[in-house]
């Protein structure tokens, strides 16, 4: 190693190796990724973000929201719900099999399930149990299906129905996945908190809606102005200590509206091949984390 040229060659080789590993390989693997048809919704996923949400992404980047918020949901595994989809012709046999599959069911409950199929037999079981139960029902005439349910702390918190995968970020530019959770994850915030006004109040002054929040306020995204002839319909409904002075109102700037539009566009409601889950239409305003509930 005591000669310059040898040293140069070795550094060059090491550099080339690291470049191939972490620049070329990912690009070869993911560079050609394109939108994919998702059967459950009959549409291509992901869709490019449109309208003022594009500008909102820019506001998100400029304000450095990524310093405190991630946009990635982790998942530790799957559990399965077993559903009897079709009881078939041999109801007595299937009823006994249902009871065999779930020992906790009484005769009456098992009969109910068979009579009212499709119905869930077992919840939250492992892949092995699914296989053994599928084997049990083989040739019985009854049909069972397994619904997939992703698990993990993030999912239990209601931060998203499934893990995020590379495909979800296809149209983000720049990709702001984040590495810090000083604040909650935002990958699915649009489903969790679908109320536009909540977001505007939260941006203007987080403590108006979340007591003890440590998020900085963004008053510069709002304009405080004198009330004209009549109060603006866009004015924020601020109360108590957060209210502006008498005769003044707080109006969101286009940036604030764009940012909120962007936040609302952050939703995970498509299962994809890499991250399957039972598809149910996302119902906004459910699963609201307790910390997100408006403070009284």
């Amino acid at each position: 190693m005591n000669q310059g040229p040898l040293l140069f060659l070795s550094v060059l080789c090491a550099m080339a190796a690291s470049w191939m590993g972490f620049v070329l390989m990912p690009q070869v693997q993911l560079g050609n990724q394109s939108t994919r048809l998702v059967k459950e919704i009959g549409r291509h996923y992901p869709a490019e973000r449109g309208g003022i949400a594009v500008k909102g992404h820019d506001v998100y980047r400029a304000a450095g929201c990524v310093s405190c918020h991630t946009q990635q949901v982790r998942q530790s595994g799957f559990i399965f719900d077993i559903v009897l989809t079709d009881a078939g012709d041999f109801t007595d046999l299937v009823t006994s099999l249902v009871q065999q599959a779930n020992g906790d069911l009484s005769d009456q409950q098992a009969a109910d399930i068979v009579a009212n199929a499709p119905k869930t037999i077992l919840e939250g079981v492992s892949k092995q149990t699914v296989d053994s139960i599928a084997f049990l029902f083989k040739d019985s005439g009854g049909k069972v299906a397994a619904n997939i349910r992703p698990t993990g702390p993030d999912i239990d918190r209601g931060w998203g129905p499934r893990q995020t995968v590379g495909l979800d970020y296809l149209f983000d530019e720049p990709v702001l996945m984040g590495s810090q959770r000083i604040g909650p994850d935002l990958a699915d915030v649009g489903s969790r908190l679908a109320d536009r006004n909540w977001h505007l109040l939260h941006l203007y002054h987080p403590r108006t809606v979340v007591e003890k929040s440590i998020m900085p306020a963004y008053p510069y995204l709002f304009e405080t102005r004198e009330i004209g002839d009549s109060p603006s319909p866009d004015a924020l409904a601020l109360k108590g200590e957060f209210a502006p002075e008498e005769g003044m109102e707080v109006i969101p700037t286009p940036e604030a509206n764009a940012l909120v539009e962007y936040l609302l566009s952050l939703r995970i409601f498509h299962p994809v091949f890499e991250a399957p889950y039972i598809f149910t239409q996302a119902e906004p305003s459910e699963n609201i984390d307790s910390e997100m509930e408006p403070a009284e």
Partner: protein
């Protein structure tokens, strides 16, 4: 690996040192100024964490821009600029060669500072790119690259013209860092900022850039400083050059793959590869530490003076950060510490503890040698060491311990998020604010001392009627320390 020729007379050394006098003063004084600015930014960010209304109405200092502004000021302004100053000095000393083209170096460093300044202003004005370590707006990268071409080019030409042909381990590390940096800077900023690739590949390339910058470029300069300074200060020979060679190869081959944790929304091989490589790097660091331990074992810390303490701290922080990074990349640990304060804790340990401390030790040691003027207030330097060391440790411990608690809360879905914030983040952020305040004090003192030295050197040159006479004037001072150096002129 010993370089024991003492062919140079003291006057030759003075000539070598004085060729570097003003460029290094410029680089060092700007570096510490950036450290001061960076520490002010992180202090503001830190205060905002417990008083979120503090300076809220100004978009230029909102938390989200203070964090990247502080990081970029410290990485590009302080760490890289300080690294240039240190590596040029080590190259000149080990090669026993005068600096080639000080004028170009001056232009390069001025350009570099303009680039960093524009970059930091760009981030604060909301033009940050959103990619960690590459937040500066796209137009800054060509400026930095042009500046680097001058600085790095001069370092390489100086290296090439060395009088002592045999290479000392520190030189391999410096050489590798010099080649690595322009490579990652151009590839990183082109693929992420100027002509971005699509989708999550951005994250992987961002990780590649971050690990290249931290582990290879800054890490190698840090290791070069440790391997050069510790034997020099303790007047011993490096224990075993082959162990250094081993560490060099391992870190160079695997260091570029570290830094992406398993469990993110990336292809899973990325996290696994990164985890394996982190373990290799930690192993190389253990070998390096053993080598250093065998070199300096049995030496009392006092004999090396204050610089020894700086470098010793730097080595300990470097080892700790490499081992912790490897530990954190285990899947079971990564699940906990992912997305938590643990990661900024590691960053602090590496950037401020390992790289920063090494650079400060270097600056403390070589500025008086180069200028021929001793520090006017040595006691202030002791104060700088302790405030900086305690401050960095406080922030590091607060973030690492807090990060663990933060993560434990995050992976328990029964703990409401607000409780995680209250128990896992808030108390530790308060502790880190104290640490950041101490680092700020240290940076301010440092800035004052280096600037004073700058002015005194400038004045002494003016009084003596220019550089040529100044050499003669200062040589009497410099001579005192010469015999030591020439007997062990590494």
């Amino acid at each position: 690996m010993d370089v024991t020729q003492s062919s140079k007379s003291p006057s030759d050394w003075t000539e070598i040192d004085s060729s570097y006098r003003f460029p290094t003063l410029f680089l060092a004084s700007k570096a510490v100024a950036w450290l001061l600015l960076g520490s002010i930014f992180s202090l503001i960010a830190s205060i905002k964490m417990h008083s979120p209304s503090f300076l809220a109405s100004c978009p230029w200092v909102t938390y989200g821009v203070m964090i990247p502004a502080a990081l970029n000021a410290v990485v590009y302004g302080f760490a890289l600029q300080g690294a240039f100053a240190a590596l040029l000095w080590i190259t000149m000393r080990l090669g026993q060669v005068k600096l080639v083209g000080p004028g170009y170096l001056f232009i390069g460093s001025a350009l570099w500072n303009i680039g960093v300044l524009l970059g930091v202003i760009g981030i604060m004005a909301g033009h940050g790119s959103g990619h960690t370590y590459l937040e500066m707006p796209g137009f800054v990268s060509p400026i930095l690259f042009a500046a680097y071409t001058l600085i790095g080019g001069i370092a390489l030409v100086t290296f090439h013209k060395r009088q002592v042909r045999e290479l000392y381990p520190s030189q391999w590390f410096i050489f590798a860092a010099l080649y690595w940096f322009p490579w990652i800077l151009t590839a990183g900023s082109y693929l992420l900022v100027m002509s971005p690739v699509r989708g999550v590949t951005q994250m992987i390339i961002g990780g590649w850039y971050a690990s290249g910058l931290n582990v290879i470029v800054l890490g190698f300069v840090g290791i070069a400083i440790i391997q050069y300074m510790l034997p020099k200060l303790t007047k011993r020979d490096l224990h075993n050059g082959y162990l250094s060679l081993f560490s060099f190869w391992i870190i160079m081959l695997f260091g570029g793959f570290t830094g992406l944790l398993p469990g993110q929304s990336l292809p899973s091989w990325v996290g696994s590869l990164s985890a394996v490589c982190s373990v290799f790097v930690a192993f190389a660091w253990l070998v390096l530490a053993y080598n250093i331990y065998r070199t300096i074992g049995g030496v009392s810390g006092k004999s090396g003076g204050l610089s020894y303490k700086f470098i010793y701290f730097s080595a300990a922080a470097g080892l700790l950060s490499a081992v912790l990074t490897a530990w954190a990349s285990r899947a079971s640990v990564a699940d906990v510490i992912q997305f938590t304060l643990f990661l900024p804790g590691l960053k602090w340990l590496h950037l401020y503890g390992f790289v920063g401390m090494g650079l400060l030790g270097c600056i403390h040691y070589f500025l008086p040698k180069i200028t021929g003027i001793e520090w006017s207030r040595p006691a202030q330097w002791t104060a700088i060491f302790w405030t900086y060391a305690i401050g960095t440790s406080l922030v590091g411990i607060a973030f690492l311990v807090g990060g663990w608690k933060h993560g434990k809360g995050l992976i328990d879905p029964e703990t409401p998020f607000m409780d995680v914030v209250r128990e896992g983040i808030a108390p530790f952020v308060r502790m880190s604010t104290v640490g950041e305040l101490l680092v700020f004090v240290a940076a301010a003192l440092l800035c004052w001392n280096v600037t004073t030295l700058f002015c005194r050197t400038y004045c002494s040159c003016l009084c003596l009627g220019g550089l040529s006479q100044n050499k003669a004037g200062t040589s009497s001072e410099t001579k005192k320390s010469q015999p030591k150096k020439s007997s062990k002129n590494k």
